[in-house]
Amino acid sequence: MPNLTRRSLLKAGTSLAALMGLGPSAASALAQGLKQMAAGHAPVLWLQGQSCSGCSISLLNTERPGPLELLTGGTLSLKFHSTLSAATGHVAVDVVDTWIKAGGFILVAEGSIPAGMPEGCMFGGKPVGEQMLAAARKAQAVITVGTCASYGGIPGSAGNPTGAVSVVKFLHEQKVEAKIIRIPGCPAHPDWVVGTLAHVLTFGPPALDEDGRPQAFFGKMMHDNCPRRGDYERDHFAQYFGEDGCMYELGCSGPTTRADCAWRLWNGGTNSCIHAASPCIGCAWEGFAADPDVPMYGVSAQQKKRDAPPPSPLPLRRVM
């Protein structure tokens, strides 16, 4: 690490603030954060809204670095996570409040916010939306993990009963200025989360697309990396689950979903949805589950097509 005078830290904090699109007042919080980083303790506050915890469980599947190394290896310090923290009850509320007051942490948000029903998600007796706002205002960076936090996901689908929205939308509607990095996925792949955190802590924010997604992971369509792309090119299509062939007619969302899972594979290079002969359901796609009338598979549509009566033959010419 370069010379760590207070002056140099403040200077670094100011440029990082500018990079993040944050105001000059963020500089000193960032300087404090950088000091922590220099000591290998970049503080991370992981807050959950309407979440299934799948993205957290997925994160724990990280291979290199493994979860222990992630937590104790000196890059970051997970100050609070509801699933892992020893802190319970008022001790937990205290930890979160202390950090929100201090600022200078990276906020990782998982799960959607019930914007239409604040009672729909509470923490320590307060709506989680309020907590997320307070934390985002003081964070040096905000990363939304998973499709729920990034795009609303299943809880945020049309007609949902809580008015659930993504954390991104919630913060924008509440006029919180924060440059947000979006890591969708249902769940998010641990490599995407760990890789993004590592980039932020070592080099600053990674190259993002127009949606704030790291281009390294979301730059290509699933279709671009699909192991069955050859079948697609040869018009060899699977008709039923479990068959060989391109699964486009089974409703595969590969052509519209930006993610690299078919190349990266899941669970430490073990398998992937496509490799397991199941179509991509577009879980990292911005519209995942959003429209109840858009099914995840094309199986019903194919069945309807097969059921449709064949076109009637041309009428016979009567020979008079």
């Binding site: 469980i57 599947n61 892992l84 802190a87 319970t88 008022h90 479990g242 002969a277 598979y297």
Partner: protein
Amino acid sequence: MATTIKIDPVTRIEGHLAVDVEVEAGKVVRAHSSGEMFRGFEVILAGRDPLDAQQITQRICGICPISHATAAVLALDQAFGIVPPDNGRLLRNLLLGANFIQSHLTHFYHLSALDFVDVKAVANYTGSDRVLQGVKAWVAEQVESRAIHPAAPLLPGYNGTYLSNSEGNMLVVRHYVDALSMRRLAHKMGALFGGRLPHASAIVPGGVTQDITATNVTACGSMLRELRRFIDRAYIPDVVAVGKAFGDYFALGAGCGNFLSYGVFPETADGAKRLLGCGVLHGGKRARFDPAKISEDVRYSRFAAPSGLHPTKGRTTPEPTKAGAYSWIKAPRYDGHVMEVGPLARIMVAYHAGNKAVRSLVDRTVADMGVKVGDMVSVMGRHAARAIECKLVADACVRWLAALRPGTPDARPKPPKRDKDGKPIRPDTPEALKPDRANRPTCTRFRIPERGAGVGLTEAPRGALGHWLTITDQKIAAYQCVVPTTWNCSPRDDKGRPGAVEQALVGTPIADPAHPLEAARVVRSFDPCLACAVH
């Protein structure tokens, strides 16, 4: 004069739970369990394509998604009138088995252990274990750096009495670290057949899409060996050690003493025989399970009446500011009674049914812990039951793996068959839908009916799980779930009877109201999952 202590949030569970306990003369006299997060999956599913069910319901929970996928496809199988081929049934068992192993290991080590183990003591470790030396160095460096909340997330915690035996303490800390790798390995094992975990894509109505190869079978066998070794040599001994060190927790947290299990891991195509059987234990007496006796009250839950509906008629109409309601969790009751579900329920039901493997393991473990079978109905008993069940499931996975039959290279369902005149048979007629036994597929074809109904009853790591579905016009007309933690963390029912956790907390001694560690231990023994409970 009672003091009310709030534990909000209860951490190291899944999701948002608040518990409050009223304490008189140092003991809990009354407790309330409040589910604090609602999404409305049952509303979200209505009107969707039936095949969305096993994908969407997995997102009810990230720790037990395979359980929901299983319940969903069982309901869909019934609605479609199909039966998976043997390979499909076995693969579903392996997938659910991997999920059970992952969930139980995570629960004991990463969710519960910090209630019993003193992480601060690692600062005094003088042994030669490299991992523990590493953790010690990290704690020391954290404290020295004067960071706010050093060694988070393992600290700070409640003050209280933790494991005093230094060696035993260190062993559990070491295994906490090892278990991080083990739970990841269990998921890796499941991904071999599920495509990925959590949220596996390969589970579909009719079976599992992943085909069986010598490679994935061998890899699974290798991972299973390592997992079973850890369960036998670390997990169970650790539970025994913690059980002996905290013996008074065999006399705490008994709860309602009624147990319900739908049975899980079908050993036959018709599901009649299961690894862990179906049954009801009411006041210690066995009763035959009747699914018609399930109902959900909502008087104290944030939902509009009517109360007491069976899930086939169930409704989910949220009322976030309903007077008198204190939880987003409904109150399921069986034949009007409060029930506990989960590993303890399954083990007790199996024990009373005379299951030899269960009896042998339970008898041995209680002897090792210096207690009796009756003492299993307790905080410590729940941890023990979970560990015993983990071993049973892992051992059964060996059998299921060995029974898989890889197909020939073209083992997947073939393109349209031809009739005796050579004309192609429409692919979805009964003739064409007959499973191709010679090729040993892993899933069978199906037709989505215009109308239909199905029920999927299975067991998640945390207990009895049911999905009830009806189809109209080829769409989901209604979908209701009653999930394990809905039973366990249920609020009072219409008659004012507290749920299982609420009852289990009564009688718990609280040494320091500012640090209700004892109450937290009782709650966590149930392995609550709130995303599941409310859904």
